[in-house]
Amino acid sequence: MSGICVVLEERDGRIGRISWEALAAGKLLAAQSGQPVSAVVIGASTESIANEAATKAVNNVIRVEHPLLAHYTSDGYTIALHQLIEKESPTAVVFPHTYQVRDFAPALAARMNEVLIGDVVAIGEGPVFTRQLLQGRLAGNYRHQGSGPCFVSVQAGAFRADAIESGSAEATNFTPTIDAAQIRTEPGEPFRGSAQTVDLGSAPLIVSVGRGIKEADNLPIVQELATALGAELAASRPICDNGWLPMERQVGSSGQTVSPKLYLAVGISGAIQHLVGMKGSQCIVAINKDPDAPIFEVADYGIVGDLFEVVPALTEAIKAAKG
């Protein structure tokens, strides 16, 4: 048993950032134990992503290819990777903690009498894997004690993708044996959630505007910020009451309850009716000129200042960051 396998995931024809972060975690494990790192790509035709992976400092790239892997299925991926791991017998298999990995990796590990240590945020000497418990209120340290490979998936953003050096690796092919009958599920094409109605509830990013905007004519500066972020625009009740934005965009006790990854509150003081609608957001940013505004009580980040100056500056900064 030797080597670290990092399974990279394709996203829109390229390898996603979180997969590079997984690779960074794999390299950290490899550095701890002085082992080689293999990048694993998987699909029906993996040439372009294999080439992409080969530009990084890895020992080799393994292309797991089979026509039945054209679309992701839990059965297909589990069978293929099981065969690969049996053959390679690495000491650890590292995944990005994506929805797809969560769908098959636990079964893959269980098939080998192993357990996935999932959603890892840090790896210490030992190795000791740190993951969040009780929704981030505690951190738990885990050790792997099985006889087989250690399965690990890492949380988005926990490791620095830009720390990986470039290199040029050889690619090898691995063709698993899969029978069509072994794939029991039939996946459909991905589709976007219904675009007709505003579904703030499932929006990952929300920019919300309140009374501080003063007039309907000032709304475009907030709209521009939302567009730059790729966020939905929402509002507190007074804005919708005035008819400046439709009622369906109202967040709060008489509107919608939202829990996005980012809730950016612009000119919202934070009345309780509003707070109850957005308190579940992962990260709350507040921009308000009143330093005593209650919204700052619930915010993770706050900027005390004139929104008419801060918002355009923020729009520019986001555009610049997104390049």
Binding site: P106, A110, L205, A320
Partner: protein, 254 residues
Amino acid sequence: MKIIVAIKQVPERDAHIRIDSSGKWIEESDVQYAMNESDAYALEEALQLREKHSGEVIVVSAGPERVGTTIREALAKGADRAIHIDCNDLNQRDALGVARLIADAIRPDNADLILTGLQSDDLGYGQTGVILAELLGVPHATLILHVEKTDAGLKVKRELEAGFFQEIELPLPAALTIQSGGNKLRYATLMGIKKAKTKEMRVVTAAALDGAPVAVLDGIAHPKKQRSTQIIPGDAKQAAATLVEKLKFEARIL
């Protein structure tokens, strides 16, 4: 359709958390417990399927005696009967160990469908449903928001990342992990709790822990930084730049 729903009792979201003397788990005495949120959605999905297609809903839950209150809540909301896996060392078992307990307890029922919540609010492994499927040899799908019964089996709506969804068809028997928010939860009623008194709750004793688990929880700690508000200084331009930097590398959102 015979549906089994695996539910877990977890500390209330609001619970005050203190680490116990072993340093491996929380002080349980001053914590109040509730049904895990996504499990409540799994139960709701099961009840709605039974209302549409008739059949039976059986809840299964592993844990110490206190788990009985959560089981009764599930019975009050409409589950037909329950299996309580009496187990005092749940936190020391890894996801595979717990899934094995549940698989052993429910295997004799030969259910058509096994539902679990996506993830527990305490340990958050998010694996029980998937491993159950593996152990019972049935197909599965995860992050499910909507379940529809078809002639061939099921058509389910799965949540993908970045606002996308996908439909998956799979034959029965099957296992699904249910994402929160797909349905509206029903509330527990007085009538339900009275009816629950007469429903069957079978208690099975968990097999003793067989050696050490594969993944060992060595210790828990409070994370270094509690959530607090960072007021970002500087003029508009500086503050904006700092904020973007923080959203990118600290909050990891952008």
